[in-house]
């Protein structure tokens, strides 16, 4: 599947850098959204669900 390139290491490491940075830029909003939603859900539950009942 992988064609034989001259300078293979250079070509593949460039493409790898591209993939890593794209994945990183995709992951950041994804993870932040998960954390943010969890925080907001917890705040909401705290405010409405347990009036004075939180131990």
């Amino acid at each position: 599947m992988i064609p034989e390139f001259e300078y293979a290491a250079y070509v593949w490491s460039s493409y790898a850098i591209f993939a890593v940075v794209i994945a990183w830029q995709a992951a950041v909003p994804f993870l932040r959204r998960r954390r943010l939603m969890a925080e907001l859900r917890e705040e909401r539950a705290f405010r409405s669900g347990s009036y004075g009942g939180q131990s």
Binding site: F5, Y10, S14, I17, V21, V28, M37, L40, E43
Partner: protein, 253 residues
């Protein structure tokens, strides 16, 4: 007349945070899907279809990553500048947030451009870094992006920080062409012959398609991440507001 009217109303609607958020979350998956498709086509063509170059053999394939990233780094700045101008003139909060969301992604592409440029330079010129015009101005552009991100992050009042950073963005708009011009001047002064990382600037026409596919792919990805970051920033800033509670409620239901 009515088309213009709908556009105007649409533009104003975007200023409202809940509408903006809804639009962003709805559009983002489409841009990601578009990126995956166009990138797959472009990468396949770049790696399997296009023949090795006469002078640079296979290492020139790095071009298909390096050049679209460079173009996007600059295009991203242009988009950010337009948004910054709108944000400062009309003081629209969602535009401020959208402008600031451009910076990290643009910086990421600048990084890709610099890293791939260095990797390309090693087999071609023997060194990991080449002081050629494009790489040097990309390095300066990276600092401009980092400066904008740092300035925005340094303010506790996010709105004030966004407005101050937008001033910096506009200063950069004037500055970037001057920098590119001066760096090109500088390389011709000190080296006599211009070192062009491209080699010959005329490319075989068979090399164009993957370049075009990757350029489009990169634009789609930039847009996807930009609107995702913007929508999250908006939620973060509007935590206590009613519309955010409604959104959470919708998600739970």
């Amino acid at each position: 007349m009515s088309a213009f009217h709908t556009l105007k109303v649409g533009f104003h609607r975007l200023g409202s945070p809940p509408n903006f958020y809804r639009l962003c979350t709805r559009l983002a998956p489409w841009f990601w899907a578009g990126f995956v498709i166009t990138a797959a086509i472009g990468l396949y063509q770049a790696l399997y279809v296009v023949p090795p170059d006469y002078q640079q053999s296979d290492s020139y394939r790095i071009l298909f990553i390096h050049v679209p990233s460079a173009w996007q780094a600059l295009a991203g700045y242009a988009i950010m500048a337009v948004l910054a101008a709108i944000a400062l003139i009309w003081r629209i909060r969602t535009t401020e947030i959208l402008a600031m969301a451009c910076a990290p992604v643009g910086a990421a592409f600048t990084l890709i451009c610099l890293a791939t440029g260095a990797i390309w330079g090693k087999p071609m010129w023997g060194t990991w870094w080449v002081w050629d015009a494009r790489l040097t101005s990309m390095l300066v552009l990276l600092f401009i992006y980092l400066g904008i991100m740092g300035l925005y992050a340094a303010f506790e009042d996010r709105r004030k920080g966004a407005r101050v950073a937008c001033i910096l963005v506009l200063v950069g708009v004037v500055n970037i062409p001057i920098i590119q011009f001066s760096v090109e001047w500088w390389t011709t002064l000190h080296q006599g012959s211009t070192i062009n990382l491209f080699g010959e600037s005329t490319m075989d026409p068979s090399m164009m398609p993957p370049l075009i596919w990757m350029t489009i792919a990169v634009k789609l990805m930039f847009t996807a991440v930009m609107i995702q970051r913007a929508s999250l920033d908006l939620i973060d800033q509007d935590r206590r507001k009613r519309w955010v509670e409604d959104v959470i409620g919708e998600q739970n239901a």
